[in-house]
């Protein structure tokens, strides 16, 4: 009986846990609740994944109101994949958060911290599960508002300005999405995404639909940190508490990519978005410029967290590049990179969180000699970094390989050059850290020890996943391929 209600439980569980968390005054209890709920959400998403793995689609009508009128929760191969990523990262990041947050956030605010965390999780899961365009906006705002709070809790006062900047940009983005949804509703009179797709296919091209597409693309682009709209991201990631950076970097942009996919390929027809409207070339150019420029910028960063934040923008570029190829192979590569990027950036930010826990700073100069002092942490960082560059036997290699294959298949050779150049730039900026950590002698008076086990465990969990999914690609590639087939197939 409970199986049938899983799609809604996926979202509602964390939504109910949030007010409960508010009532718990002790930080430990709040953490425990958040952790248990995250684990439960992970289990639910695994069950959901197993059910949709065969290509089935689960539809759930909230309140018993049938699909085109009521709010429908809809789970298929694409969002089951996203759900797994979001919940798994939440579990790992929360494992890490207990020790890290206790140090970085004031004691009386920790209960509220986990409340905001649960709300953010609710929002991200809700975006993935819902099949209703307006519901998507509501969940987007839930996740955004709570992430502004989480980022604003950073120690540095610049966290406040970063959060404010994100708030302004994020609200503009969300409002753009709202306008887009409104215009679509104006044309079709429905908000259900499947129904929208069906009616838009009949109605065909009109100026309102074109405007809606433009607003939605720009709005999601802001949330996605697509190249010229990424200005909020580096500061937000740099000054947020370590655990939040892990969570945001590995999930928030991924969910935005999911929204982009859902709208470009399912709500609108791919033949409209990439045929009648020249979005493919547009996205490809933006992504390519983004990869090259932000990778270059990250070479010159002094703060390692900021460097990785810029690199995140570049990685988003790879995903968008895959999307812009508009082929089954391209989408597979984009989804695969989405999964792998969550793993590698998760590992890297977790390792940096360990460093920040011990040193209180993640400046490049402070890392000198850490390879000897914190061998496990830096080794995890190295694994993540190798994956980021795309060395064989790591997860990063797999997705880059698929991306290159997809670009070759379409015959877009300049893109292949861009992808390879991006990897080379990644080598440069990662090398700066590695050189600092392993080849420089540690300062005499530096007396740091290895990070505690509670921090190392989640870090190595993700580092191990990087290696595992670099070797055994059956799950990740299989899932990505199936999701891509679903997206491409639906737009015929």
């Amino acid at each position: 009986m409970i199986r049938e209600h899983l799609p809604v439980l996926q979202v509602v569980l964390s939504l109910v846990a949030a007010p409960l968390c508010l009532l718990l005054t002790r930080a430990v209890w709040a953490w425990l609740l958040a952790f248990i709920v995250s684990v439960a959400a992970l289990l639910i998403s695994i069950v959901l994944l197993r059910e949709v793995y065969t290509g089935e689609v689960i539809s759930y009508a909230i309140g018993g109101w049938a699909a085109p009128w009521g709010i429908e929760y809809r789970v298929d191969a694409v969002n089951a994949f996203i759900l797994i990523i979001v919940t798994a990262i939440s579990v790992v990041a929360l494992m890490f958060a207990k020790t890290s947050v206790a140090q970085e956030v004031a004691g009386d605010k920790q209960g509220l911290f986990y409340t905001a965390w649960l709300l953010c999780l609710t929002g991200l899961l809700g975006i993935a599960v819902t099949g209703d365009a307006f519901n998507l906006f509501v969940f987007l705002e839930i996740s955004s508002l709570s992430s502004y709070v989480l980022i604003g809790l950073g120690q540095d006062r610049r966290a406040l300005t970063a959060s404010f900047q994100y708030l302004v940009m994020g609200t503009i983005g969300a409002t753009f999405i709202l306008i887009g949804i409104g215009l679509l509703y104006m044309v079709t009179g429905t908000l259900n995404m499947m129904d929208l797709a069906a009616r838009l296919a009949v109605l065909g091209d009109s100026r309102t639909v074109q405007t809606a597409l433009a607003f939605l693309t720009v709005g999601i682009g802001l949330k996605l940190a697509l190249f010229p709209l990424h200005l909020w991201l580096p500061n937000a990631y740099t000054y947020a508490p370590s655990a939040v950076t892990v969570f945001m970097a590995a999930t928030a942009t991924k969910v935005a990519v999911y929204m982009l996919l859902r709208f470009l390929f399912q709500v609108f027809d791919a033949s409209f978005t990439f045929g009648a409207m020249p979005l493919g070339g547009f996205l490809a150019v933006l992504a390519a410029v983004g990869i090259l420029s932000t990778s270059t910028v990250s070479i010159f960063q002094d703060n390692v967290k900021r460097m990785l934040a810029y690199s995140s923008v570049a990685q988003v570029g790879y995903m968008v590049l895959g999307i812009s190829l508009v082929s089954s192979a391209g989408l597979t590569a984009a989804l695969l990179h989405l999964f792998n990027h969550a793993l590698m950036k998760g590992t890297l930010f977790l390792a940096l969180g360990c460093v920040a826990y011990r040193l209180g700073s993640v400046r490049l100069g402070a890392i000198a000699g850490l390879g000897q002092r914190m061998p496990w942490t830096m080794a995890a960082f190295l694994v993540g970094a190798l994956s980021l560059i795309g060395i064989p036997l790591t997860a990063g290699f797999v997705s880059k390989w698929y991306l290159i294959l997809a670009a070759v298949e379409r015959g877009w050779w300049p893109l292949v050059v861009v992808i390879v150049a991006g990897s080379l730039l990644a080598i440069i900026y990662v090398w700066r850290v590695v050189e600092m950590a392993y080849l420089r002698p540690p300062p005499e008076k530096l007396s740091v020890t290895e990070a505690p086990l509670s921090l190392l465990l989640p870090t190595w969990l993700l580092a191990g996943a990087n290696v595992y999914f670099g070797i055994d690609t059956q799950f990740s590639v299989g899932m990505a391929r199936q999701a891509a087939a679903l997206l491409i197939g639906s737009s015929g």
Partner: protein
Amino acid sequence: MDLLGLYNYWIVILLMMMGFYVVIASGHLVKKLIGLNLFQASVFILYISMGTVDGGAAPILRSGVGVFSNPLPHVLILTAIVVGVATTALGLALVVRIKEAYGSVEEEDIHRQDDSL
């Protein structure tokens, strides 16, 4: 081309551009939030005017009235208004904290202080 017939869109566009301009051009953080509010308000008007039906009554069920305005956009925008209030409250709270941390709410001052760090 009946330009004035679609006057509601003109209002929406005018408000939207005003709000957007304030968000971009003003360095004062509170003014930025006011601009943001204006920007959101324009979308509220877009939705509400979208639901209008010519000659339709307020969408409350009672006898003797056959034509109603579409209530769905109103309900949707009620949610969006609540979201807008939450955003404004959060934004203002951040401004209060920024004021305490920097002693200023002017963007230029804040950037200047951070560069000197």
